[in-house]
Each structure stands twice: as structure tokens, then as C-alpha cells.
Amino acid sequence: MRKHWLIGGFAGVLALSGLAFVQGGGAGADSPTTLSDFQPIAFPHDQHAGSEPGQNNMDCQFCHFSAERSVDAGIPSVSTCWGCHQAIPGTNNPQEVAKIKDYLDAGEPIPWVRIYKIADHAHFPHMRHINAGLQCQECHGEVQTMGVLEPQRTGLPAVFLGQDRVWGGDNMGWCIDCHRQPNEDGVQQASTDCSVCHY
């Protein structure tokens, strides 16, 4: 009898903490990407933005052009890609680079799969964060060291902490942590007023 009680109680505690956890990852349910997505073109971020020898060490905002003046970071137009790549056939896998031309000729946009997606009810103005001197990596992770961006997932279903490992992204607490950091005057550096993001 007593043993059963113990088990029951333990189960209860587990369930509760489970619930709390679900909350932790709960917002992850909003993350739209699923496990089986691949990019139309195997675009190696490390090759472009990486600083290792042989990598091009490009600035993120060379392609994500509107990050410093718009809420959207922006994605390069096909012509932007071609601007460089008509000169650079691509060292590692030119067949991928060739695809750009196809899209350009077809006048079709490249259907990139979105990786970084914040919940629709939260507004994230990129320019404010860039102008506050944040590095892209602070939110997006060390993208310049990653190859083709694919949704990185724990094996668990989205509800259970299923969101990207590469960023805290869709987890409000993760935003709040940063907003609450005190600035030099000891006041918290960014507002935690709900309506700053939610409206």
C-alpha cells in the first residue's frame, strides 16, 4: 500500500513538472517547420559568411539587406545571388549554383524554406535590435558555421521542447531574459511592456 502511494505521488509531481516544461517549450508548437523540409538550393551559409580560410566572410546584411531599416530582415532577390554567381560558378558544388540561373531565367522566386519564424502574435522589429548593436548570431546562432540551414530539432514532438536548438526563438522567456538585462544605469535595457511586441 504505502509503496503505491509513493508511486502515485511521484507520478503526480512528474505530471506537474511536465506541464511546466510543456509551457517552456509550449510556444514551440507555433514553430511552423517540420522535420522533412529541405532547401530548394543547398545554400551553405558557412561558405558565404564563414571566416575560416577558404570561406568568404560576407556580412549577413549584404544579402539580408533590410535588417537594419525594416522589421523584416529581407531575403536576397534572385538577381542579387546571380550578381555574384554569374562570375563565381561555385567551387564545391556548381550544380547547385546553376539552379540560380534556372530560377532567374524562369523569372521564378526561389522557394526557400523558412527556418527562423517567430510566433505571428509577436512583432520583432529587426532594425531596433540591429541598431541596439546586437549581433545576428545572438538570436540566430552561429549561422556562419552552419552549412545548409535545415530545421534542427530534438527528436521530441514539437510540444515537448521541439523548437530549434540553434536559437531560443519562439520562447518568450528567452526574449525576456535579454530584455531584462540591466543597462549601464542599472535600469533594465529593454522594455518588458507586453504591448511592445504583442499588438
Binding site: 511546466a20 509551457q23 509550449g26 518568450m172
Partner: protein
């Protein structure tokens, strides 16, 4: 010791003239548990089962489609659901009142009804607790009302009466359930000692191996008193908090200082009414006439009478204050309550809760079980409408005349409301078959203990 004995003989005789021996009690009270349930019981259970089906069916439909399937709107954001919620919370109260408050006051007549009343309390709260969930627009986020550590660093708003509600109702449920369970332990042990087979196993588990040793009885008694002492203010607080859901607002017709006592009285009123409604048939079916005597019903009737007068007084003072304050908006609200679009609800309330109970002044009525049964039904109806009147008539004519509107309950709402009675009845039926419907050990306490000396005296 002999003095004690004599006075207790008197008391026991007073309560139950035709029960003499201690083990008679076991025999009679445990009969319903052992004997065959009977067709009637099964039919009622089936009925309740169907009702529960309807209940969850309608609720499921509402979750799937949205709150729109109710008749609610702006300005009437609360309707049948909240009405029924308050109704069930109110029902719950008499249970604790009878078991705890009357226990502390040592009222002689409580023993034979308090078990049923407590069971009613637990099940009523179980029913009431569903309605806040039913009425929220996004059920799947309702758990945000519970304070738990979460990655958003967000907590509920402890200034909101609704959060008070969450605490009050859950506390109330926990405590009354524990209280109820504690009281049953020795009786279940008694049942265990007579039951066989599966039931025996079940009762063994429930009774936790109770033996009735001196030590157990010693601590049991004390614990019971302290629980009663805690439950007493709790029961008063819970319906006060429920009343503050309204009183803390600024809605004319809600925002009144009288609400807490007024609601508590109403709760006891409706609760006792419901106890009568439930125990009358129970007593018939299971032949417990010897234990539920007219004396008990007489006492309950008197309680009804008292609370009915308090409630009526509350109505009157509300109307008076509205007029006397000269506050235009308040006046309009209460005038509208009496003669506005929902006049019928108000008058049903006044008749059922104010007029009908007047009959309880007469001893002949109080002593006629059928009459009491009928009156208790009226009380149940009247108290449901009281809450309906408070919720709806106040909301539909508020401050802004241009935004006045009407509310017409939808079929879905009605199905859920009716279904909740089935849900409640289902549990109560199970209770009558599984647990001793009357507190055996407390009955024995008031029976004359067997005395050798007396026998020799004869």
C-alpha cells in the same frame, strides 16, 4: 458516569426511538450496499448516463465551433453557464454547513443526514468546477489561471476575483473531499467487516485498515474537530468569493456590499433544499425511515425558512437601496429587473424563494415529507433563477444605453445546464450504493450504550 449515560439515553431516544442496539445500525445502514440495487436505481443511472452523454456532447460541440454556439453576446457576456456555476457552488454549501458548522454546534439532528449532505457537497463542487472551464473562450489556455512556473515568467493576476475563485473552489473541493473521506473511514471499515469478495477488497483499501482502536479514535476525533473548525470559515469564504465575482465589478446590480452574506445565505438555502430533494427519495428506496425522521426534516425546514427570510430581506434591501440612493443608473437597473425584459425571471425568483417558503411556518407542512419535497423543488428552481436574474438582468441594461441588448440562451447552453444535473446525479447514485449513506459511528455515538448495570437493575 451514570449521569452522562442517562442524558445520552435521552438524546439517543429523541433522535431515533426505534433503534435500540448498536449493531442494528450496521444492519440497516449497510443494507443498501449489500442488497440488490433494484430496477429503479438502474433506470436512474441509465438516465444520468444519457444526460452525461448530452453534456459532454454539447460541450465538445462548443469547443469545436466556438463560444458562438451559446446565446451570449455583448453586453451579456455571462449567462446560463455562470448562473449554473453559482447554483452548484451554492448547493455544495449546505453539506459543509451541516457536517461542519452543526457539528461544532453539536446539533443533535445532523448525524443521520450529514453523510448524504457531504457527498452532495463533493459532487456539487465537482459539477460547479466544470462551468468556469465551459464558459471560457479558449479552454485550451484555461490553465493559465493556475500559478505555475513557466518560461514566460508570467503569473496570474491575483487582483482578479476569478483567480480568487480558482483558489477558493479548488481549496473547497480538496478540503470537503478530505473531510468527507475522513468521516467515511470507520464506516467503510464496518462495511468491510461484513462485505465479501470484491467489495471487501475495495473497502479494505478505502478504510486503510481501520480497526477502531483507542488511539485511532482519539486522534480521529481531534482531527475531525479541527477540520470542522477549518471548514466552517472556508464554506463562508467560498461563496463570499463567488459573490465577489460580481460585487468587485462596477456593474449596477452587481456592485453591492451586501453580496457576500446574501450569497452565503442563498447558498445554504438552496443547499438544504437540495438535501431534502435528495434524501426524501433515498430514505424511501433504502428504508431508512428510522434514521431520517420527520424531526430531521422539521429541523431542515426551519433552516430553509430562516435562510429564505434572509434572502428575501436581501432582495428587499437591494430594491430599497436602489430607490433610496437616488442613484439614477442603479434605480433604472432595479426597476428594469422588476418590470423590464426579464421580469418573469425576477418574479419566479421572488415567488419561489420568498413566497413559497412561507408555508414552512406551519408545523403541518414541516411534518409532511411530500409537501417538503415539493417545496424543496421550488426552492431549487427559485435559486437557479436568482442567479440568472443577478447575472443577466444586470448586464443587459448597463451604463451605456446605446449598448443595451438582449440575451437568449441557446439550446447548447440548456443541454449543458441540464446535463450537469445528470453528471451530479450519476455520482450521487454511485455513492448511495458504494458508501454507507448514513454516518454509522456517529449514530452509535448518540445511541444509549449497552449497560450491564441497567440490565441488572431491571
Amino acid at each position: 458516569m451514570s449521569t452522562v449515560t442517562k442524558d445520552r439515553t435521552a438524546r439517543g431516544a429523541l433522535a431515533h426511538p426505534d433503534v435500540t442496539r448498536l449493531d442494528d445500525v450496521n444492519r440497516d445502514v449497510l443494507k443498501p450496499l449489500t442488497g440488490p440495487p433494484g430496477k429503479g436505481w438502474w433506470m436512474m443511472l441509465a438516465l444520468c448516463g444519457a444526460g452525461i452523454g448530452m453534456f459532454f456532447g454539447a460541450w465538445g460541440w462548443q469547443i469545436y465551433r466556438g463560444m458562438g454556439v451559446s446565446g451570449l453576446n455583448a453586453p451579456v457576456g455571462w449567462g446560463v453557464y455562470i448562473t449554473t456555476f453559482v447554483f452548484w457552488v451554492g448547493i455544495a454549501h449546505s453539506g459543509t454547513l451541516i457536517s461542519a458548522i452543526l457539528f461544532l454546534f453539536r446539533a443533535p439532528w445532523r448525524q443521520s443526514i450529514y453523510r448524504a449532505a457531504e457527498a452532495m457537497t463533493v459532487f456539487a463542487v465537482m459539477t460547479a468546477g466544470l462551468f468556469p472551464l465551459i464558459h471560457v473562450g479558449r479552454l485550451w489556455h484555461a490553465y493559465w489561471l493556475i500559478p505555475y512556473p513557466n518560461s514566460r515568467f508570467l503569473w496570474p493576476n491575483f487582483k482578479s476575483p476569478l483567480v480568487w475563485d480558482v483558489f477558493a473552489v479548488t481549496t473547497y473541493f480538496t478540503v470537503s473531499a478530505v473531510f468527507f473521506y475522513l468521516g467515511t473511514i470507520p464506516d467503510v471499515a464496518a462495511a468491510r467487516d461484513r462485505a465479501v469478495g470484491l467489495r471487501k477488497k475495495l473497502y479494505q483499501v478505502i478504510s486503510l485498515g481501520w480497526q477502531g482502536t483507542d488511539r485511532q479514535w482519539h486522534h480521529f476525533g481531534k482531527a475531525y474537530i479541527f477540520l470542522a473548525a477549518l471548514a466552517t470559515p472556508l464554506v463562508l469564504s467560498v461563496h463570499s468569493v463567488v459573490s465577489w465575482d460580481f460585487a468587485m465589478s462596477i456593474v449596477p446590480g452587481w456592485h453591492a456590499t451586501i453580496f457576500a452574506p446574501y450569497f452565503v445565505a442563498g447558498a445554504i438555502f438552496s443547499g438544504v433544499g437540495m438535501v431534502i430533494t435528495l434524501t426524501v427519495p433515498m430514505r424511501k428506496f433504502f428504508g431508512l425511515e428510522a434514521y431520517l425522521t420527520t424531526k430531521h426534516y422539521d429541523a431542515m425546514a426551519k433552516l430553509c425558512l430562516l435562510t429564505s427570510m434572509i434572502v428575501l430581506y436581501a432582495y428587499m434591501s437591494e430594491f430599497f437601496m436602489a430607490w433610496y440612493s437616488g442613484e439614477e443608473i442603479e434605480r433604472t437597473a432595479f426597476w428594469n429587473r422588476l418590470f423590464g425584459d426579464y421580469w418573469w425571471a425576477t418574479w419566479i425568483m421572488l415567488v419561489c424563494n420568498g413566497m413559497v417558503p412561507i408555508m414552512l411556518w406551519f408545523k403541518r407542512v414541516r411534518h409532511s415529507i411530500p409537501a417538503l419535497f415539493v417545496i424543496s423543488i421550488f426552492i431549487n428552481i427559485g435559486m437557479w433563477f436568482e442567479r440568472f436574474v443577478i447575472v443577466v438582468t444586470s448586464l443587459h441594461h448597463e451604463y451605456e444605453p446605446f449598448a443595451w441588448g438582449m440575451y437568449r440562451p441557446s439550446v447548447t447552453e440548456m443541454m449543458i445546464m441540464v446535463g450537469s444535473f445528470a453528471w451530479f446525479g450519476f455520482w450521487f447514485l454511485l455513492f448511495t450504493r458504494l458508501l454507507p449513506p448514513i454516518a454509522i459511528q456517529e449514530l452509535k455515538e448518540v445511541l444509549p450504550p449497552p449497560m450491564r448495570k441497567q440490565k441488572e437493575a431491571h
